[in-house]
Symmetry: C2
Subunit: 345 residues, 2 copies
DNA sequence: ACAAGTTGTGCAAACGTTTTAACAATGACA
DNA sequence: TGTCATTGTTAAAACGTTTGCACAACTTGT
C-alpha cells in the first residue's frame, strides 16, 4: 500500500540497504547517492515504518507513564496533567513517544504495565507517586525493566527516581509559620501509606522539635487527598479545647476543604488561623484568600523524570548507575499566612 | 533473548503456525494441542511481540491524543486530564493503548501527529477542542486517516466527532438566569476563534432574543480561558453606567477570576450578581460561593470519543459512516445563582 | 469400498526494516 | 606492477509474527 524502502531503492536504482544507510547517515555513502535517494524519498513521500524498525532494533522509542488509580481522587488531576506535560515535552525532545496507561485498581495497574512491557511495546516506564509497597515497582524491578519513580520507594532506595525533598519542604513550611510567631501548629496529612504523606509529616515534626514546640497527636489528622478530608479535619480540630493557630496542609485541594470548613465555622484566614499548603497548584493562587504553598516544580519533576529514564535506557549497562534527582522546591507566601497568631501583622 | 513463538513451537513439538493459531483461537486446532501449547507458553513465560504482530497485521492497536498547546492555558489541565482518563479507560477496554502527543505550537502539533501517522505508529487519533481551522484536521482529513474530534469543526461538518451541544447548554444556562428574574445578563466568553466560545455565545444570544431581552455588545467580553480574563472582564463590566445583574461565564476557571474581581470591588454573589458557569470542573464545587455550572460530562466525552474512533477503525470501509455524538449536559445549580436580581430569594 | 467432505497441521512467503559480511572499484604506496 | 587500504555498494539473513495453500488423516454417506 504505502511506499517502502524497496520502492525507493528500485526507483533510485540502488539497493534497499543503501537507502537504509542514507536514512541513518551512514558515513560510507557518497554524497551524490545520498542526495539522489533523499530526493526520491521526498518525491515519493516515503516515511519509514516504525514498527518494522522496532522489530529489528528491539527498541521502540517510547516510554509509558502509569497513572495511579483515578476514582475519587480526581483532585490529583491537576498534578498529573502538569507532570505528564513535562514528561511528554522532554520525551518529544529526545524523540520518544509517550503512552499513558492506567488501571481501575492495583492489580489492573500491574496488568496494564505487564502488557506493555511483555509486548516490548515500550522501552521504559515512568511511575507516579508510589505507595509504600508498590506492586508495579516489584514487577518492573524483578523484570529488570528500566523505570523511573516520581517519588520515592521506602523499600527500594537504590532505584532511579526523581523527587521532591518532602521532609525539607515541610520543614521549610513549618519554619515559616514558626518564624511568624506560631507556637501551636497542626498538620493535615494524606493517606498514611503514601511516602509523600510520611515525609511531610516528618519534616513538620522535625521543625517543631527543633523549635522546642509540642508535637501533639491530636493536632495531626490523616486523611486522603480530597477536599472533604480537609473539611472533616477542620471539624475535628476546631472542636478541640486547645486549638492550633497555624496549619500545614498536605495539598492545595485539601486546603480548599479546610478553608471551606473554617469559613463555615466563622473563622478568618489568616487572622484566626494561618495556613501553608503544598504543591502550589493553580488553585492556590485562585483561592480566596490565596494560599501560601510550597511549589515543588511539577512540570520540572516530569521533565527530569523523562530525561533521567531516557538517559538510562540509552546508556550501556555498565554506564548505568541509579541516581536520585531532587527537584528544588520554593515556598510561595500568599495571604493565607501573612500574619502572626491573633491576627497581628 | 526473550522467548519467541518458535521456541514454544520447538518445545511443544509443533510448528510455529500452530502456536500462532492457538494464540488466535483458530477453530481448527485440536483441544489437545491447544492445551499443551498453552501450558508450554505459560511455563516458558511466552508473550507475543506486539511489534512483530503490528508489522504483519498493519495494525497497532493504539490511538493517539493530540494535546493542544500547553503554555499559559494550564487551567485547561483539569479538563484535559478528565478527558484523557475517559479515553484511556475506554481504549483499555477495547484493548487499545493511548499515546499522548503535543507540540509547543500549531506547526509542531502537526509535526508530532505526522510522525505518528506516517510512521504507522497509531491506528487513529483523538483531537481535542479545535479552533476554527485546525491544521491537524486538514492534515488528517487529507491523509484519510481515522480521527475523531472532541468538539466541532466549522469547516468540516461531516467528520467523526463527539461534542457538547454548546448552543443548547448556553441557552439552558441563560434560561435559568432569566427564570430567576434577571433581565440584564452579560457574557464572559473565551477566545473568539474557538468553536466552543462561538457556540456558547450563540446560545446566550438566542435565549435573550427569545425572551425579548437586549443583547448588548458592551455586556459581552471576549477573552481567554484564563482567570485573569475573568478578572479583567469584571473591571470593565462593573464600571459601566448600566450593569448586568446576571452573568454567563464560559469556564469555571474564568469564573474564579470573575469572583475574585467582584470580591475586590465589594460585590456579593449571588446577591449583587448571579453567575452561571460552564464545564463543572472540580473547582466549581470548591469555590466559595460554589458555582452553578453546566456539567458537560467530560469523562463521558472522552470515553465516547475513544469508542467512536475505535469502532470506526475496526469497521470495514463500507460500514464507516461519519457520526456526530452529542453528550448530554446538565445544569448544576449552586449558590452562585440562587437569588433573583437585587438579592431577593 | 470409494468419493467427498472435514479436521488438524505444516511449509513458506510476507510484513519493512537493519546489519554483517563480502565484494568491486579506486587510489596510495613501495 | 603488485599489494594494501579505503570507499561505496549489495546480497542475504535476521527480527517475530500471520496466513494462504497444500496435504494427510479421519469421518461420512452411499
Amino acid at each position: 500500500m504505502s511506499v517502502t524502502i524497496k520502492d525507493v531503492a528500485r526507483r533510485a536504482g540502488v539497493s534497499p540497504s543503501t537507502v537504509s544507510r542514507v536514512l541513518s547517515n551512514h558515513p560510507r555513502i557518497s554524497a551524490a547517492t545520498a542526495r539522489k535517494v533523499r530526493e526520491i524519498m521526498e518525491e515519493m513521500g516515503y516515511h519509514p515504518n516504525l514498527m518494522a524498525k522496532s522489530l529489528v532494533s528491539k527498541t521502540t522509542k517510547s516510554i509509558c507513564v502509569i497513572l495511579p488509580k483515578p476514582a475519587e481522587e480526581l483532585f490529583l488531576n491537576l498534578f498529573f496533567m502538569e507532570l505528564i506535560r513535562g514528561i511528554v515535552a522532554q520525551a518529544a525532545r529526545s524523540g520518544y513517544d509517550v503512552l499513558i496507561s492506567s488501571g481501575a485498581n492495583e492489580s489492573e495497574e500491574v496488568e496494564a504495565v505487564a502488557r506493555l512491557v511483555n509486548g516490548r511495546r515500550v522501552d521504559g516506564a515512568v511511575l507516579l507517586y508510589s505507595r509504600k509497597d508498590d506492586p508495579v515497582v516489584e514487577f518492573l524491578q524483578e523484570r529488570k525493566f528500566p523505570f523511573v519513580l516520581v517519588g520515592r520507594s521506602e523499600r527500594h532506595p537504590d532505584i532511579l527516581s526523581v523527587d521532591t525533598d518532602n521532609v525539607q519542604a515541610a520543614y521549610d513550611a513549618a519554619r515559616h509559620l514558626i518564624s511568624l510567631g506560631h507556637e501551636r501548629i497542626g498538620f493535615v496529612g494524606g493517606p498514611p501509606n503514601m511516602v509523600v504523606s510520611i515525609d511531610r509529616m516528618e519534616g513538620y515534626r522535625r521543625a517543631l522539635e527543633e523549635a522546642g514546640l509540642p508535637f501533639r497527636r491530636d493536632w495531626v489528622v490523616e486523611g486522603e487527598f480530597l477536599q472533604d478530608s480537609g473539611y472533616r479535619a477542620m471539624s475535628l480540630l476546631m472542636n478541640l479545647p486547645e486549638r492550633p493557630s497555624g496549619m500545614l496542609v498536605v495539598d492545595d485541594f485539601v486546603t480548599f476543604g479546610v478553608i471551606r470548613g473554617l469559613n463555615e465555622l466563622g473563622y478568618k484566614i489568616p487572622g484566626d488561623l494561618s495556613i501553608v499548603s503544598f504543591n502550589n497548584l493553580a488553585l492556590a493562587e485562585l483561592s480566596s484568600p490565596p494560599i501560601s504553598s510550597v511549589d515543588i516544580g511539577i512540570y520540572h519533576l516530569g521533565y527530569t523524570a523523562s530525561q533521567t529514564l531516557i538517559r538510562w535506557i540509552e546508556a550501556s549497562p555498565e554506564e548505568r548507575t541509579p541516581v536520585r534527582h531532587i527537584i528544588p522546591h520554593r515556598l510561595i507566601v500568599r495571604e493565607s499566612s501573612l500574619y502572626a497568631p491573633g491576627g497581628k501583622a
